[in-house]
């Protein structure tokens, strides 16, 4: 019981720390100033910010929402939602 408690709690804590680090990383990416002192991001930085957000969303779905243990239809549906949404956002951003 203690081993199970320790391993499942450690996983949640590890995911939590990872998402916090990714949040700080994405803020740093979005904190560049251009020559006129305004915040800006290059296309590559914007793509990196979106990628970090996608990883955080997948971490929440897979681990906090326990979709990793869910029926196959739910795993496919949620991954499809993330993939479809991010693909659409990136296409519209780059268009």
């Amino acid at each position: 019981m203690n081993r199970l408690r320790s391993s499942s709690g450690s996983r949640v804590n590890a995911i939590w720390v990872l998402t916090l680090v990714l949040t700080l990383g994405s803020v740093l990416l979005a904190s560049h100033h251009n020559s006129s002192g305004r915040l800006t991001t290059s296309t590559a930085e914007a793509m990196a910010v979106l990628a970090l957000a996608a990883v955080k969303v997948l971490c929440i779905i897979w681990n906090f929402m326990e979709v990793r243990d869910a029926p196959r239809w739910l795993r496919h549906w949620t991954i499809g939602w993330v993939g479809g949404l991010w693909l659409t956002i990136v296409v519209v951003y780059l268009y």
Partner: protein
């Protein structure tokens, strides 16, 4: 105790839901609704890039980042609460859910402060399309946070008597709260970070 920690081999193969199927249908419907809203936001952003970029500079990156970390921390406590409840540790689960709720209240407070700051500087719903999306998206999300807080209170009360605890209420509440968290992660990226 909510349920055994180790599922049977048959359950493991078929997979198991965190909470009730009806709540998941609601969660998936919400994801579709917000997903459509995010895409519409990006289309408007594409059409009015200069207005959106100029308006975005008036948002507080610090407040947005702080709220992201606050909700992620809240989700951590709620995830740990579900695990504690499954082991039959009702008191610990209740304490963890309460911590999760307190961080949810902190999110509301930071958001209220941020809105007051924006409105105080004349950036209201009717200022332009960017602020229309800003207040609508964050407003609908805030409603979800408030509803989530009520659900966490219900889950907390459910854990008061472990012997007649309905597991689906605690787990469904957690699934809903994590959805609120992940939606904010997308809102933060699109409204505050991507330029």
């Amino acid at each position: 105790m909510l349920q055994d920690v180790a599922p049977s081999p048959a359950t493991a193969r078929a997979g198991r839901l965190l909470g009730d199927l009806n709540v998941w249908i609601f969660v998936l419907g919400d994801l579709v609704f917000f997903g459509a809203y995010f895409v519409i936001f990006m289309v408007y952003r594409h059409q009015e890039t200069a207005v959106f970029l100029a308006s975005q500079r008036h948002l507080s990156l610090i407040a947005g980042a702080l709220n992201t970390m606050v909700l992620l921390t809240s989700s951590r406590f709620v995830a740990l609460a579900v695990q504690a409840a499954r082991r039959g540790e009702s008191e610990r689960a209740r304490r963890l859910i309460s911590y999760g709720g307190l961080f949810g209240v902190a999110f509301v407070a930071i958001k209220a402060f941020e809105w007051a700051h924006e409105i105080g500087h004349g950036f209201t719903l009717v200022r332009n399309d960017f602020f229309m999306f800003y207040f609508m998206l964050t407003g609908v999300h805030l409603f979800h946070v408030l509803l989530g807080l009520v659900i966490l209170v219900v889950a907390n009360r459910e854990l008061r008597s472990p012997e007649r605890c309905r597991s689906w209420i605690v787990e469904s509440g957690a699934a809903y709260w994590h959805m609120v968290d992940l939606l904010w992660v997308v809102i933060f990226a699109l409204l505050y970070l991507v330029r």
